[in-house]
């Protein structure tokens, strides 16, 4: 058996770490702003993947309809939209067949709202991990916005079928599709960071989020085109990042008109939300285990 050391020795950490091959890991009170440790997040990529897969498995394991749920949500939204907004209110759809127009909207929207839900609950839902195990806390919200991409991919296959049926073809802007997807994921992540952090301290967030996404849905061009919004309100309208994202998706996938220049405001809000979200999360993350 090895010999226990004499405690209260005189060797200092500095001397010791000079001859070491393995790095010290320090834990001290954080003062001021910390840099985002991307290297550490990368080191924990397997955990991100694992949590995301766990989420998928748990969701579909005991569900009879399994993966079919991936398309039920946008389909149900589409059915309501066709009856209410198209047949009754005769909402225009940028000269596109309304089912194609609205189904894309709902597919993108279901990804966003369910990922936002998931990210918001990611810390509280993993409370047993957060209070008992160390991992970079940002792993949880990152993992939470990934699984729904699978659902979205399935819904996009169905969308392709709908487009073929209605004879809608995308233009060269299709090449920009990854940009809109990236923006969509980052939006869910950025907003999710803020709500997840708030949710740790205030459980009200879990209740408020349903209301928030409902209002947000109607403030976004999901069932109606953004061209319906009058010119003088258009700048304010574009503050909602979903406006630019949905306009971009429809341009790329359905060959709708190119998003107007004012949609650049959406990109700006997204950036502010993302940076602000990361900062806010980092400022609070070391307290999570004490408060949750």
């Amino acid at each position: 058996m090895s010999v226990g050391g004499r405690p209260r020795g005189t060797a200092t950490g500095v001397q010791v770490s000079q001859q070491s091959s393995v790095e010290w890991t320090e834990n001290r009170a954080t003062a001021g702003r910390r840099a985002l440790d991307l290297a550490e997040l990368w080191a924990y990529r397997e955990l991100v993947l694992f949590l995301a897969l766990r989420d998928l498995k748990v969701r579909y394991r005991q569900a009879v309809f399994g993966v079919a749920w991936a398309i039920f949500q946008p389909l149900a939204g589409l059915a309501v939209a066709i009856v209410v907004f198209h047949n009754l209110a005769d909402i225009p759809s940028d000269r596109l067949p309304y089912p194609v127009f609205a189904f894309l909207g709902f597919t993108v929207w279901s990804y966003f709202s369910s990922s936002l839900d998931g990210a918001t609950a990611s810390l509280v839902g993993n409370a047993s991990l957060v209070t008992k195990i160390y991992f970079p806390r940002m792993v949880a919200p990152i993992a939470a916005v990934l699984p729904r991409l699978v659902d979205t991919a399935i819904a996009f296959l169905l969308l392709g079928g709908l487009m073929a049926w209605y004879g809608v073809t995308p233009g060269p802007a299709l090449l920009l599709l990854p940009v809109w997807f990236a923006a969509l994921v980052l939006l869910a992540f950025g907003a999710g960071l803020v709500l997840a952090t708030l949710n740790v301290t205030y459980r009200d967030v879990a209740n408020a989020i349903g209301l928030l996404t409902q209002l947000w849905l109607f403030a976004s061009p999901v069932v109606y085109p953004s061209s319906l919004v009058p010119g003088r309100w258009r700048l304010l309208y574009a503050v909602n990042p979903m406006v630019g994202i949905l306009d971009g998706f429809r341009w790329s996938v359905l060959g709708a008109p190119r998003p107007p220049a004012v949609d650049a405001v959406s990109a700006l809000t997204l950036l502010v939300l993302l940076i602000g979200g990361v900062r806010y999360f980092q400022r609070c993350e070391r307290r999570f285990a004490d408060v949750i």
Partner: protein, 402 residues
């Protein structure tokens, strides 16, 4: 040898009680903000508790440090800071290499996932790659002895199986520093022996171990050096035998009744544990030759089918003398919500000496309350009595000349 694997310098941790503890609400926050605006303090005011105060220590690579102290002494907080789960209020900790922790049975296990999926999850949490975990997988399964259930979701595991797998995972994953918190308190004797053996192996293999336990016997066997924490401060740090002797003799005044803080939201809350002498008077100093009574008060908040209760009496070195469960002598209880008083009369069978009292409340499926340090008492007899024995039955001899 020579270099340190763990260094702790002037570590302090302050908790603010009653502030957003266990989830606050926006209304409270708004109320506090309003109170601040009107220059009134929020009712009560936050209460501060120093869970650790100016703790310094070093553990060399391959060393093993035992940590002892009563409940609330700051042992768990120390582990939580070493694992970086939470940050200190001041001071610093340094650890070298990967830190693996077994802080509580089955932490990091997801109930919906199978045993093998959970093994990989734990590996990922430790920052290990899939291949690294895969290499250790067979050993883990082998040690745990639950190979038949590796494809069963762990929510269907018994608490014993849970514990076996959790320990196997923690012991086999390739951590350089291993932190272990009171895992030997549960589980059967055979598994406890297996765990102790494994921990000795871990130590021999050059990994560093920090071992928190109420089982002084296990500490004495595994750790050459021991830290005694008391109310967040270092009471003693050094050679295990000296520290344990000091711990056993000093400071441990017998309590006649210990009350427990109410933790809202728990299914079962322990209210108090008391020791009553033969005349029904509360006392921590009892006569060896008279029966005494252990009285437990608790509140059941939600229906617990098969409610069970057990009292564990241990000698100070951690040898279990009694483990008396309610279910040993009575049919399963229906566990309706309400307040309960349970009494257990112990006949005069124990020898003179000092004993700790542990208390467990739960059901066949889960542990709801485990208080390893629920009481402390001393049995006194005449000075003529020989103390070096466990039971004293006063059996009568039949001797006659023949």
């Amino acid at each position: 040898m020579g270099r340190n694997a763990i260094e702790v310098e002037h570590l302090s941790k302050r908790y603010v009680l009653g502030q957003h503890h266990g989830g606050g609400s926006l209304r409270e926050a708004a109320g506090n903000a309003a109170a601040r605006l009107t220059r009134r303090r929020p009712t009560g005011g936050p209460e501060e508790v120093w869970s650790l105060k100016d703790v310094s220590l070093q553990v060399p690579e391959g060393g093993a440090l035992g940590v002892i102290g009563r409940n609330g002494a700051g042992k768990s907080t120390l582990l939580k800071i070493l694992t970086r789960i939470t940050e200190p209020t001041s001071g610093v900790t340094r650890t070298r290499g990967r830190v693996g922790a077994l802080l509580e049975v089955g932490t990091g296990f997801h109930p919906e996932l199978t045993g093998s999926e959970n093994v990989y999850l734990n590996g990922a949490v430790l920052g290990m790659s899939r291949q690294e975990t895969a290499r250790r997988f067979d050993e883990i399964v082998d040690f745990s002895g639950v190979e038949r259930f590796m494809d069963t979701p762990v929510k269907r595991y018994s608490s014993g199986m849970y514990l076996r797998l959790a320990f196997a995972v923690a012991a086999h994953l390739e951590a350089d520093v291993m932190l272990v918190d009171e895992v030997l308190a549960v589980g059967d004797a055979e598994f406890q022996r297996k765990c102790l053996g494994k921990m000795a192996d871990v130590e021999r293999s050059g990994r560093t171990v920090l071992f928190v336990s109420h089982n002084l016997d296990a500490i004495a066997r595994l750790c050459p050096t021991t830290l005694w924490l008391d109310q967040g401060r270092v009471q003693a740090l050094g050679d295990t035998k000296e520290v344990l002797d000091a711990y056993i003799t000093a400071g441990l005044l017998p309590d006649s009744r210990r009350t427990f803080a109410d933790r809202p939201g728990e299914t079962v809350a322990l209210s108090s544990v008391a020791l009553l002498d033969a005349r029904g008077q509360p006392s921590g100093l009892l006569r060896r030759d008279e029966p005494f009574t252990i009285e437990v008060r608790f509140v059941v908040r939600e229906h617990v089918p098969g409610l069970d209760l057990s009292v564990v009496v241990q000698t100070l070195p951690g040898l279990r003398v009694l483990d008396e469960a309610w279910s040993d002598s009575a049919p399963p209880h229906r566990g309706e919500p309400g307040e309960y008083v349970a009494t257990l009369r112990v006949p005069p069978v124990l020898a003179v000496g000092e004993y700790t009292l542990g208390l467990w409340i739960g059901s066949a499926y889960e542990t709801l309350v485990w208080e390893a340090d629920a009481g402390f008492f001393r049995l006194d007899g005449s000075t003529m009595e020989r103390p070096d024995r466990l039971v004293h039955l006063s059996l009568s001899w039949a001797v006659q000349a023949c």
